[in-house]
């Protein structure tokens, strides 16, 4: 007994705008969510990602714009007629009902009763691995269990679209990471179009088919996790996702120079005489006195080494004083042979990992 799949629908947003006084919570947002896709809205707090989700759910009325589920325009449809499942940040489970009654609630509203209701509640509980918990009271559940009940309630009526508003933010790290995998598997099993809101970039990268990075009420980049990480569109995305060293580079004829060294880069070069070089710490290598053929090489001076268990972070300064970080796997042999603070080192990185971003400052 499992929950059936239902034909997923694409979601289309066109020119959605919402202002609170002078603040643009949504600034003419266009977005196409593919049918059956797991799309994450990622952004810092106040970026507008939650506003966007609330507009999708129908709890916030936009000032203008269009919102379509499949071919149906739903911009002015009240929330209770939208037929979308939603997992709230604080779960929003009904405290006066037991687990089974919570999950049966949307079924009752749809006139599904008796054996069919019971079958679906059981199936939903099984799907979230809480079989046998139907008679529990909500206050008898742990945070993780509540999260699962909220999820079961959101999928039991087989909605075309599922929305999740930072559903894992209240859980501790280990449980959160396990639930990330489970949510992802559940999505593959059900195939519903899913929109997930988070401010945790790692969570976004782990779970999503595509990630929309939101800032200042706009979608600043929409891409796959890998493209987002390796080819960020601008400094904001580069700094928000993953660790990064950002170094100034100057155009010198046909070549770009960083701290005086010529640099080979991948992707398109920005226009203008100055740009910003993005380096991911784990893609920078520590070179010996020799070697580094085919790599970009920068001489630097070690300023500190931080041991972090599974890895170490080496911080260094270039000749022009800019900071650069290097992350490596912490093996005993590697740790023992690390250079001492203030030692001169050579840092290398491949052309493919060398990304130039437009200089915005």
């Amino acid at each position: 007994m499992t929950l059936r799949q239902r034909a997923a629908v694409p979601i289309t947003l066109r020119g959605l705008r919402k202002r609170y006084g002078e603040v643009r919570a949504l600034d003419d947002v266009d977005l196409d969510v593919r049918s059956g896709e797991f799309l994450t809205l990622l952004g810092p707090s106040g970026s507008g990602k939650t506003t966007l989700l609330m507009v999708l759910a129908g709890f916030i009325r936009p000032d203008q714009g269009r919102l379509l589920f499949g071919d149906d325009e739903v911009t002015r449809l009240p929330p209770h007629q939208r037929d979308i499942g939603m997992v709230f940040q604080n779960y929003a489970l009904f405290p006066h009902m037991d687990v089974a009654a919570n999950i049966a609630y949307p079924l009752k509203l749809r006139g599904i009763g008796g054996a069919e209701q019971q079958r679906r509640v059981e199936a939903a509980l099984q799907t979230v691995q809480l079989a046998g918990y139907g008679a529990r009271r909500i206050d008898q559940l742990s945070g993780g269990q509540r999260q699962r009940v909220a999820l079961a309630r959101a999928i039991v009526f087989e909605p075309r679209i599922v929305l999740m508003d930072e559903p894992l933010s209240a859980l501790d790290k280990q449980l959160r990471e396990r639930m990330q995998i489970e949510l992802r598997q559940l999505h593959e099993q059900l195939g519903t179009t899913t929109i997930y809101v988070t401010h945790d970039q790692r969570e976004a990268l782990t779970m999503s088919d595509r990630v929309a990075v939101v800032n200042g009420g706009r979608i600043v980049q929409l891409d796959t996790p890998r493209a987002l990480y390796e080819q960020p569109a601008n400094r904001f995305v580069a700094e928000f996702i993953g660790e990064s060293s950002l170094l100034p580079v100057q155009r010198d004829g046909d070549v770009w120079r960083c701290a005086g060294q010529a640099i080979a880069h991948s992707g398109a070069a920005p226009s203008g005489a100055r740009a910003c070089l993005l380096l991911r710490p784990e893609r920078v290598r520590l070179l010996g006195a020799e070697g580094g053929e085919g790599l970009n090489v920068l001489p630097a001076q070690v300023s500190g080494i931080v041991y972090q268990g599974d890895s170490f972070l080496l911080q260094a300064r270039l000749a022009d004083g800019h900071a650069i970080s290097l992350r490596g796997i912490a093996g005993a042999a590697v740790l023992d042979s690390l250079p001492a603070p203030a030692a001169a080192v050579r840092l290398g990185f491949a052309q493919a990992d060398t990304v130039l971003l437009p200089d915005e400052t």
């Binding site: 209770h80 929003a92 405290p95 909500i138």
Partner: protein, 295 residues
């Protein structure tokens, strides 16, 4: 295991001293309660079992059963209390709901309007109602002046007047606990209900109403119990026609100097109130068992 490790004796002594200090701090309050509550109630209790010649007797209780005026008093008391409570619920629930949905600021201003009379003397308010409601009072003058009715309405010196006055006085006691309960209802629960397909009316009925019930029960209980022992308003606005238990007690003492009869009435009122409280707490617990926890 023995408690003879380092500092064991000293730590135990500290704990004992702390407990003694707490006891010392609460002693004045306990004494006050004893002198002002336990002693008088005990004295009343004793008086109610004493005949005029100071011997033990059940005559005061027997009279209560035999004389129909006592029965009528209890019926009146019950009737007035039930009506007042019902009217308070009818007015107070929508009021508390409206307040709970307003912004904090607006709700605060409106709440002052509810509470302002609460801070003025009960006697003053009751006489104010007398001025408004009497035959030649403001309401009748205006009603006749505007041609809404021809003869002065009997708004006071009867059950109507008593109820108007009592509802006005009791309303805050219902609204305040109810409002507190409503404010503690997570707004996301109603959003969740809507998201799952509940129309606003359905969401109210299946989520908001059940979650506000504990507050409503608390308010109802407070109002009902306060009503049972109410004196001033029925005395002034009832015009001698609405005799509640308290008024009967006053009559027994002031007109007949019968302390025994008055004490017996007081004891019965106290027992009824305690029984009601006990029943209500049982009901509340039952509610929690049936409906799951509210917190």
């Amino acid at each position: 295991m023995h408690d003879d490790g380092p500092n064991a004796a000293g730590l135990k002594r500290d704990e004992r001293r702390e407990r003694l200090a707490l006891l010392g701090l609460s002693a004045p309050a306990l004494l006050l309660v004893f002198v002002t509550m336990v002693l008088p109630v005990g004295w009343l209790f004793a008086l109610s079992f004493l005949a005029d010649d100071a011997t033990f007797s059940l005559e005061h209780y027997r009279r209560m059963l035999e004389q129909p005026s006592y029965g009528r008093t209890f019926v009146t008391t019950f009737k007035v209390s039930v009506f007042t409570t019902a009217l308070c619920i009818g007015l107070g629930y929508p009021l508390a709901y409206a307040l709970s949905q307003m912004s904090r600021r607006a709700a605060g201003l409106c709440l002052i309007a509810v509470l302002l009379p609460f801070w003025t003397s009960l006697l003053v308010r009751t006489y104010a109602w007398l001025v408004l409601l009497q035959r030649k009072g403001l309401i009748n003058e205006w009603g006749i002046g505007l041609g809404w009715w021809d003869e002065p309405l009997a708004l006071v010196h009867n059950l109507t007047g008593t109820l108007i006055g009592m509802v006005h006085i009791m309303l805050p006691f219902l609204v305040l606990p109810l409002l507190a309960a409503m404010r503690s209802i997570d707004a996301d629960l109603l959003k969740a209900a809507a998201n799952l397909g509940a129309s606003p009316a359905r969401a109210f009925r299946t989520v908001f109403l059940p979650l506000s019930l504990p507050g409503l029960l608390a308010g109802t209980l407070i109002v009902f119990i306060l009503c049972l022992g109410f004196y001033v308003t029925p005395a002034v606005l009832g015009g001698g026609k609405v005799i509640m238990v308290s008024n009967h007690i006053a009559n027994d003492i002031e007109l007949f100097f019968n302390w025994g009869a008055a004490s017996a009435l007081g004891v019965v009122l106290l027992v009824l109130t305690l029984a009601l409280l006990w029943a209500a707490t049982r009901l509340l617990r039952l509610e929690q068992v049936l409906g799951g926890s509210h917190r």
